[in-house]
């Protein structure tokens, strides 16, 4: 790591994530979910009529759908009261589509993201960055060289205005329809902010583009939408980071991510989530992958009270590939229910899922996955590997994979192991002079290495620091 990444070594990482800002907002919606709130959001964004109609239809679907309560062993959602959530807060920023210059941002927002290390990261390693504060993207920048090639990276609200035809065609129509699940419907009704990424044919964006989502207000819901369209032969790496400080009342994060991977295109979507431990994190993330395309999901789920998140990929075209690498860490009072879903709908498609989880201090982790191989998807192969590490006897770790195989000419393998941290390994390291905590930390670092390897250095460092904090028990 070079010296200009010193900010990432900041030992007091707690400061980086746990600070709160005075709330100062231009527009704040009422609590709860009503048609008035939905109309108000749409009106505040000056949206075209069709988007308002989609929102209202989603709201209706949301109201008609039951809460998911019958999943075996699912996290307890009973503490979440949608009527107490503020679905929309527009921070006090002059320019609606986000400032072009970092210096144009209000100082408090600047300060927030400085503390998170976002502008440094942008200068060093990113093609573009977007920063969302509450419900709005407050800063958006794309390096000129990529803009010249026709790459679009802007916030979703702006995309609705500037790239209306594309958004109209792809927004919650093919990938994540609101009818998909109750929280997708909720998202469709009150979504706000998020990223729009468009990469034209054969363009390779060599450096990652990044969006960072920050929830600052108490009792709010954040519903950002991310839409990535990678045309034939293109390549892009999108990184999303999330955080929120800790509050007494519950927050809700219900994002939506839709990724369209064109023929022979390659999209990597990396995320490290560190919501505060009173946040319900209920997302829907899905990719559709055309012939020869590759989709890669890399995710670290750290924070939140309860997470239900199963990024999924539909391998639609022959020879498409999907890779999932996920890590979950559940500490005290946390229930991280996450996994991966892959639908093999075409011949010769391949997928690999590598999932690691750590449960400590009474936390619960669960891998809930689905591999579906459709009739006709001959020559497909999938391999699922889940490893769980448990620190103590208050913690729980479950594995619930599902495999639906409708085609015989396939190769399917699932493997899972659960174990405690090896006494012998700890002893060995102690005999080499490390104290107990350091030894365990080192073992965990080794355990999650396959994940951190896939992340750009900033995120790898962040993930490691977050886990160190969890191990020290100083966070939350």
């Amino acid at each position: 790591m070079s010296s200009d990444q010193d900010h990432l070594k900041e030992t007091d990482t707690e400061k980086r994530f746990e600070f709160k800002k005075e709330e100062s907002a231009a527009v704040t919606s009422d609590k709860g979910l009503t048609e008035e709130v939905v109309r108000m959001i749409s009106d505040d964004k000056d949206e075209p009529e069709w988007m308002l109609e989609r929102r209202l239809r989603s709201l209706k679907q949301y109201q008609e759908m039951p809460m998911p309560t019958d999943w075996p062993g699912q996290p307890d959602l009973s503490g979440m009261d949608i009527e107490e959530i503020i679905p929309y807060i527009r921070p006090d920023v002059d320019k609606r589509e986000g400032a072009d210059s970092w210096d144009d941002l209000p100082e408090e927002i600047q300060d927030t993201f400085e503390k998170l290390g976002i502008p440094e990261a942008e200068r060093k390693a990113l093609s573009g960055v977007g920063a969302q504060y509450e419900s709005e993207v407050v800063y958006q920048n794309m390096q000129e060289q990529w803009e010249e090639k026709g790459v679009v990276f802007c916030n979703m609200d702006e995309a609705v205005q500037e790239h209306e035809e594309l958004v109209k065609e792809y927004f919650m129509t093919k990938c994540v329809p609101p009818s998909d699940n109750k929280f997708a419907a909720l998202h469709g009704a009150v979504w706000s902010g998020g990223s729009f990424v468009y990469v034209p044919e054969d363009v390779t964006v060599e450096m990652p583009v990044q969006a960072y989502f920050r929830m600052n207000s108490e009792g709010m819901g954040q519903f950002e939408h991310t839409l990535i369209i990678a045309e034939e032969g293109s390549e892009v790496h999108y990184i999303e980071g999330c955080s929120a400080p800790k509050y007494g009342t519950h927050n809700l994060h219900s994002g939506g991510v839709e990724v369209f991977v064109g023929e022979d295109a390659h999209v990597q979507y990396s995320t490290v989530q560190n919501w505060s431990k009173n946040t319900y994190n209920l997302n829907t993330k899905r990719a559709i992958c055309e012939k020869g395309g590759t989709m890669e999901w890399v995710s670290g789920s750290m924070g939140s009270k309860a997470t239900m998140l199963y990024p999924s990929t539909i391998l639609k075209g022959r020879g498409a590939t999907d890779n999932h690498i996920t890590i979950a860490f559940a500490g005290e009072g946390q229930d991280i229910d996450t996994g991966a879903k892959v639908y093999h709908n075409a011949p010769n498609t391949k997928s690999t899922i590598e999932s690691k989880s750590i449960a400590k201090d009474g936390g619960r982790t669960n891998y809930r996955g689905l591999v579906h191989i459709a009739d006709g998807a001959e020559g497909s192969s999938t391999s699922v590997e889940c490893d769980a590490l448990m620190f103590d006897n208050e913690s729980t770790s479950d594995t619930m994979p599902y495999m639906e195989i409708q085609e015989s000419k396939v190769d399917v393998a699932h493997e899972a192991t659960v174990g405690k941290i090896g006494d012998e390994d700890v002893f060995y390291l102690q005999s080499r002079g490390l104290d107990d905590d350091d030894a365990k930390q080192m073992i965990v670092a080794g355990f999650i290495e396959p994940i951190t390897e896939e992340l750009p250095i900033e995120y790898a460092v962040e993930l490691n620091r977050l886990i160190e904090l969890e191990m020290e028990g100083s966070l939350g």
Binding site: P68, D70, W71, P72, G73, N181, L370, D375, E378, A388, M390, F391, D392, N393, S395, T396, S397, D398, T399, M400, P401, Y402, M403, E404, I405, Q406, E407, S408, K409, V410, D411, V412, A413, H414, E415, A416, T417, V418, G419, K420
Partner: protein, 403 residues
Amino acid sequence: MSTQVHAALDEGTVREISESLDEPEWLLETRLEALEALDGLDMPSVIRTPGREWTNLHDLDFEGFVDPLNAAEDKDQVGPDEVEVLPFAEAVDEHEELVKEHFGSVVDPQDNYLTALSTALFNTGTVVYVPEGVDAEDVKVRTRMNSRSLFNYTLVVTEESSSVTILERQSTGEDVEGERYYSGLVEVVAGENSNVQYGSLQNLDEETYNYTLKRGHADTYATIDWIEGNIGSRLTKSSVETYLKGDSSESQIVGAFFGHEDQHFDVNARVWHEAEHTTADLVTRGVLDDRARSVYEGVQDVGSGAWDTNSYQRENTLMLSDESEADASPKLIINNHDTEASHSATVGQVSEEDLFYMETRGTDPQSAENMLVEGFFVPVLDEVAVDELREDLRELIAARLRE
């Protein structure tokens, strides 16, 4: 459940069954309570993912299959002299206290709709009682069902430091027009340091719907090993379960199934580790041909008091046809960190390379495939410690391949 109550499914029928078996009042009461509970009970659990029920038991009209007053069977139940192997009614007569103590202690009669139906209506069954210190190698129970429906109840009680090997076979005898229903409940109460091997081979005809629940409680140092072979039936919903209740108890569940045509197998292997130093090993292999479908659910549940647990599970399915479908969900539920647990599952087809290799050695394609399928079952057959059962299973597999 709110299906229409069949004319024969009423209190009078239950009383008639109980009376014909000359049962004591407590057993009649248990039956009547089960009958009464039916309306409020749900079907046995099946794997469900949002939007999908993998085995739709609700669509089947179980009450429509029921013809409890006309049950008919051929049954052989034999065992060595020092062990009691008795028809259920006779056991109630001769060992009432024993039966009363254990009946329903492992499988709650009101566990689900089908167990309640079975408890209310069963009119045949076997009690195996192994006294302290006795080793019994050869207990055999063969049931041939000759009627539209048959409800079979098996209770096995082993006392301290005894051991028993039980071989159970279910098949259909005389032809009956239309669809049929076989229901078998098996309870095993394995006393301290006792050893139970329970092998079961189901080869019912393919018009028969089959529900079986086999569950055992293993006391300290006890071992319960299950072998579950499923070849026949139209639809089988089978659960084989062990509760490791005593320290250092162990269980092995070995399963094999071979489905063809439109057969549907929903097989479950489940173990609950409730005590310390317990060990479980679950091995299942299945082959599917034609339009056959399998659903496998394996559960390894490690309780918070189950220190020093070892638990392993493997499931492999071989698909011979494009029309077949195999679903699997091996679940790990771990509440104690002092655990070594793993599970794995694979689905695949006969390896092209292996086939090619055998063909180059002069074997015709069909024989080569058959040999590979037989070979696929070998690791499971090797786990079957009972010679006779292993041979029978091998023979049934070979017979199906010749079809």
